[in-house]
């Protein structure tokens, strides 16, 4: 939602930023002189980090350069529709667009975006001395092409982590009862069996104590892609099925053709995930990422996989969350052998999510937009932005005192991101991301409602994915 942290803090921060920019006044006002009075327009999803750009960084940039920024923060679906339509039709409405990590390959395949590295090389007057790709975390690698040129300036990055309720897990009575029932100590789950046991245990605990508490959140909306994402990006990999089980060699999905979408591992993963619904709050089949975070914040779940952008406010903001100070952060539970595979560089254990701002080729104010993207990519603006939106894109941001303070309150979420971020990965490099998702999702929803068995659903999905890939002309 619109970050209200934002507006109030905005004034204070803006003045700080103004001070910062006077230090660099030479560069920003000099470089921007030819574009003074121009207006650049951008579109993004309305998230706390975006709203920070809208409320704080945009106005600060205008003050430093005289370039106006019109920032359209809208819903996720709308943001995609409009950005894609604009670039597809080359209308030139937007001068910078939000690029979610998973759509970048589609955009690169279509040459929608300006090569930022190249543009700065071509016009050195525009290149800010502060802007260096090396300052960023490895997340920026997702926005590079094969030659290492940057096409997007990361503005937010999160990992989807395993959140659990510390208060429940550390309660001695619970520990004892758990040990008595399952024969091992109650602790954040390391593997799927433990996770399931804990989910079962706390669901029963909720019933016995007449509390509205269930074992695990499940992001299982039966009409929204969120559920599809949770499975393919966060659950399937922990069973050792990576990149949706699609084999780029011939673009096959079914096991018969060399893919893994309907492999035994994938079927076990889906069965496990659907099995969690028994131990999930009743709203789970209507839950997208938003409701999962809301359920966890309401204290209705003992554990769950939650997108990182929510971790911070769940753990710290008492206006929005019932579980402030009670949240633990850990790595997702894994099947045996997956961690070794991942460390050997073969896969990943969860979703590294986020996005960047890029410049469409059709933009008519590319130079002004370049300046803006460099402005928000400065090291000096990162820490406040990180606190407002719990996002980190610069390596150095981790060491900022404000961020460290936040890190302590969130049970080390930022530390986990810093140390284990490498185990997570963004979406696979497919240009047909949304197409395959939409083609297979109907069967997936049927699996959640129980109309299809996990095995049948995955078989049908593999078939549908291959048909779609053929139809699109990738699969021969």
């Amino acid at each position: 939602m619109r970050s209200r942290l934002g507006t109030r803090a905005a004034i204070a921060t803006a003045s700080v930023l103004a001070a910062v920019s006077t230090a660099h006044a030479d560069f920003w006002s000099d470089a921007a002189a030819p574009y003074k009075g121009a207006t650049i327009r951008g579109v993004s999803e309305s998230t706390p980090p975006s709203n920070y750009v809208k409320d704080v960084l945009g106005p600060a940039f205008t003050e430093a350069t005289g370039i106006n920024v019109e920032f359209e923060a809208t819903s996720w679906d709308q943001m995609y529709d409009k950005a894609i339509k604009d670039m597809e039709a080359k209308t030139g409405i937007y001068d910078f667009v939000y690029i979610e990590q998973d759509i970048i390959y589609s955009y690169l395949a279509r040459d929608f975006l300006v090569n930022i590295s190249q543009a700065l090389k071509d016009d050195p007057k525009l290149a800010s001395p502060d802007f260096k790709a090396d300052n960023f975390t490895t997340f920026i690698n997702y926005f590079k092409n094969a030659d290492g040129d940057v096409f997007g300036v990361p503005m937010e990055a999160f990992v989807k982590v395993y959140l659990y309720r510390k208060d429940l897990f550390e309660d001695p009575a619970n520990k004892e009862a758990f040990k008595a029932k399952y024969g091992y100590d109650l602790a954040p789950a390391k593997d799927h069996k433990q996770y399931r046991d804990i989910a079962e245990f706390f669901t029963q605990w909720g019933k016995d104590n007449d509390q509205e508490v269930w074992g695990s959140t499940v992001q299982a909306h039966t009409g929204h892609p969120a559920s599809w994402y949770e499975f393919f990006e966060s659950v399937d990999p922990t069973f050792g099925v990576y990149n949706w089980g699609i084999n780029p060699d011939g673009w096959s999905a079914s096991e018969a053709n060399g893919g893994a979408m309907n492999s035994a591992k994938a079927k076990a993963a889906l069965e496990y995930w659907l099995g969690l619904l028994k131990f999930a709050p009743p709203e789970s089949t209507s839950s997208t990422w938003d409701e999962v975070a809301a359920s966890f914040a309401a204290g209705r779940a003992a554990q769950g996989l939650v997108y990182g952008e929510n971790a911070a406010w769940i753990a710290t903001n008492a206006d929005k969350s019932n579980v402030v100070g009670k949240v633990g952060v850990a790595l997702p539970p894994l099947e045996d052998g997956v961690l070794q595979e991942v460390e050997a560089g073969k896969g990943y254990i969860g979703y590294y999510d986020g996005g960047a701002f890029g410049i469409p080729y059709s933009s008519k104010n590319q130079q002004a937009a370049l300046l803006f993207l460099q402005y928000i990519g400065q090291a000096s603006v990162q820490a406040d932005w990180a606190v407002a939106g719990s996002r980190i894109t610069h390596q150095a941001t981790y060491d900022d005192p404000k961020v460290k303070e936040m890190d302590a309150k969130t049970d080390g979420y930022f530390t986990l991101m810093k140390n284990d971020g490498k185990l997570f990965a963004g979406a696979p490099a497919y240009p047909f991301h949304a197409q395959v998702r939409e083609a297979t999702a109907p069967f997936f929803y049927e699996a959640i409602t129980g109309a299809l068995s996990p095995s049948d659903a995955l078989d049908k999905m593999a078939e549908a994915a291959e048909a779609e890939l053929k139809n699109l002309g990738y699969r021969k």
């Binding site: 894609i84 395949a109 709203e283 409602t449």
Partner: protein, 293 residues
């Protein structure tokens, strides 16, 4: 005598706007419907594909299913609205205290934006937040989960539509009832007809034009419902409430399947027009009949 030129001039702005904003996009869609254009295909340019899209469509189970769902949704919703609207209009004809107040309250839902209707009903029906699932379970032992049970979701979309649009039907019915002459009713009562007979032989035939017009306009809008359902269920669970407007939206936007989506919407438009034309023919026939006798 009246000059037809002036008549055409008066029609001209309407025709112009409808042509520019209605026909031009239609022609565009018509053309795209014969291509294989998908923005993220291996070859993202559009190529002429003949009737290939339509050939795929007539075998597309998901699309045909969503058509059926939409049709049933529209029929159930519109029939309930007409029955309920008639009943309420009859009651509003009677002399009751605070009639104006009740009428205003009854008209309220009409004022709520469809997208807000969807949001409001979502607030009502989400487990853990909304009162409906809570009290249904508590008082009647019904497990109410829109995300899980297809029938419940389907029914809820109908109830939501009835809640939203019955007021419009009531108002048109009220107008129809109020304008009916009194004599036939008085005569029938003198002749000793009972209530059912009066309804069947006098009220219904006289109200028929109003009913048909209402059905026509409501049917048209029900068949293109998107906003409310998108907000409430997103088309789920599974494809239970993925009505054709929503289905097309998913194919055209997230999936960027422009060619196929264009074909799909043309086919839907075709079916809607044919259906409405039949209704319209019935309506016009009705209007001309008294003169013919």
């Amino acid at each position: 005598m009246r000059s037809t030129t002036i008549g055409w001039l008066m029609l001209a702005p309407t025709l112009l706007i409808l042509t520019v904003f209605g026909v031009v996009p239609f022609v565009y869609v018509l053309v795209v419907g014969f291509t294989d254009w998908n923005a993220f295909a291996a070859d993202p340019t559009a190529h002429f594909a003949g009737v290939e899209n339509y050939r795929r469509l007539v075998f597309d189970g998901q699309f045909l299913n969503s058509l059926w769902k939409t049709l049933w949704f529209a029929i159930f919703a519109v029939v309930s609205q007409v029955v309920l609207g008639y009943f309420l209009a009859q009651l509003l004809m009677k002399d009751i205290p605070f009639k104006g107040f009740f009428r205003t309250v009854h008209t309220l839902p009409l004022m709520v934006a469809p997208i807000a209707v969807g949001a409001t009903w979502r607030l009502l029906t989400v487990p853990g937040l909304g009162p409906l699932p809570y009290y249904l379970e508590r008082w009647f032992g019904i497990e109410y989960r829109l995300g899980t049970y297809a029938d419940q979701a389907f029914l809820t979309t109908i109830i939501m539509d009835v809640w939203h649009w019955t007021p419009l039907v009531t108002l048109t019915m009220l107008a129809g009832l109020a304008s009916m002459p009194k004599e036939p009713f008085e005569q029938a009562q003198i002749d000793g007809a009972n209530k059912l007979q009066i309804f069947w032989h006098i009220t219904l035939p006289m109200l028929k034009p109003t009913i048909l017009a209402t059905v026509f306009i409501r049917m048209m809008d029900a068949l293109r419902t998107v906003d409310e359902v998108w907000m409430l269920t997103g088309g789920g669970p599974g494809a239970a409430t993925r009505y054709v407007g929503l289905h097309i939206w998913r194919v055209v936007f997230p999936k960027t399947d422009y060619g196929y989506g264009a074909a799909m919407s043309l086919l839907t438009l075709y079916l809607t027009i044919v259906m409405c034309w039949l209704l319209y023919a019935a309506l016009v026939a009705r209007r001309e009949l008294p003169k013919a006798e």
